[in-house]
Symmetry: C2
Subunit: 272 residues, 2 copies
């Protein structure tokens, strides 16, 4: 792996080993709480899938089921092309450590430049004050930053209404909004969006439920190649029930286009 | 397969063949346009997965990738248990005809009765007039019914604002709402909800885009065991762009509980 270039590209780098297998190194910089961020892991898998499909380099739909806890260190991504058509290809992929699959994935890839330019969006761009009026993730209390080394991987600027949880005053609304940009001003691309959809703290923090919210399943749709610049990210939950909650995410690029949508089903954090 | 009981149960019936393989018969009654309804097929797969996991009978999260067109007639569902834990199990499954996988699926199953009773829903129940003020699916023009034999499988009562497409006057809103009940008053259960989330006509009809909208990916979350009685179903799209659209679905039971949420990514119908 290359020591040059952007931090994020080094952290998601994969090395082809033949027969659809790719070696990866899970970076400790993406640790949060007791685990490794699921979005980062999905970008590692997404990067291996991209390597296996040269003519269809972009994730269009990706569904990940989290089977066991990934640890920092060596891992392998095994990619099995299930069907390749003219416009899209569908693969199954697993992130494996030792003999154990950590994450199992289905994904459809294509070339987003071939998907047309029409846009009829009724979704509304997240309502975020200008960057300088938002709250930097790096200003979080030291005990929060200590639990979440991953906060050092990007510049995240929270909507001022959504950060009360960090000082024990959750908003009571199941919403989390922030500006997002990777370190080194590394520009967003379709694979990095697989990380962005799972980078913010869980919306449950704003419902007063602090603690780890393990993802059971996350499906992401990449709807366009993002333009360079800051992203706007919005998470929302509307149904916290039966010990689970869904978390919907939208990512908007600097031109005001909705570039990714995702939904995950997670287990509610156990309350203290 | 048994000729007794409810029509729907006969149509999703599977017969164990050993080693995680189940024989199924894809019923021609679920044809729509040139294909077989994807929600019905997902219920067939879901029924085979249920048969393979006696202690975890309920779908919690299911993601389906549609690879090739399923035809009425014999099929096989192959289920591979990827991980079984105390609370949930995750499987990979394929619906196969001949040598070809038609649909490949990842799914997490559990026992919904063990998931707790807490509900903190901010989602709002679909706004549907009483049944008798809604428009019966069976009152659709004969040319619509001829293209969609599946409309004979259930009683569907549309919101009067959402049926203009059937007579060439689409609402212009990316929304479709209806009451839903299976034939024989067969009560809803977690597996039947996998069909319900894909039973309504595509929301794109209400945007003036008639025609088949092939699903690339559909993920459904079953959030509670539905109570007996009529279901309320609401579909919405917010981002028709790049030749694709997402379709979100909510299913509410007769007690006013949100029992299923789904999102699919589909290709826009080609306009005439």
């Amino acid at each position: 792996m290359d020591a040059e270039g952007f931090e994020f590209d080094r952290q998601i780098a994969v090395t082809a080993e033949g027969e659809g297998r790719y070696a990866a190194e899970i970076d400790p910089g993406w640790v949060v709480g007791g685990g490794v961020n699921g979005g980062y892991l999905l970008a590692v898998i997404g990067n291996a899938v991209r390597a296996s499909l040269p003519a269809k380099p972009d994730p269009v739909a990706v569904s990940a089921y989290y089977l066991s806890a990934t640890r920092p260190g060596p891992a392998e991504v095994a990619v099995d092309v299930r069907r390749e058509g003219g416009r899209v290809a569908t693969v199954a992929a697993d992130l494996v450590q030792g003999d154990e699959s950590r994450i199992t994935v289905l994904a459809t890839y294509g070339d987003l430049d071939r998907f047309g330019d029409d846009v009829r969006t009724t979704a509304v761009e997240p309502d975020l004050p200008p960057l300088e009026e938002c709250v930097r993730g790096s200003d979080a209390p030291p005990e929060v930053l200590e639990l979440a080394p991953m906060m050092g991987r990007f510049d995240m600027r929270f909507h001022p209404d959504d950060v009360g949880w960090a000082v024990g005053k959750p908003s009571g609304q199941g919403v989390m909004r922030a500006w997002f940009r990777l370190n080194d001003d590394r520009e967003p691309d379709p694979v990095s969006l697989l990380m962005v959809v799972d980078a913010l703290p869980p919306v449950t923090f704003n419902l007063g439920l602090m603690g780890w919210a393990p993802t059971l399943e996350l499906s992401a749709h990449v709807r366009a190649r993002p333009a360079p610049g800051w992203l706007k990210v919005r998470h929302e939950t509307r149904n916290l029930a039966g010990g689970m909650f869904e978390e919907d995410c939208e990512v908007w690029d600097s031109t005001g286009r909705l570039v990714a949508q995702s939904r995950q089903l997670a287990l509610q954090p156990r309350t203290a």
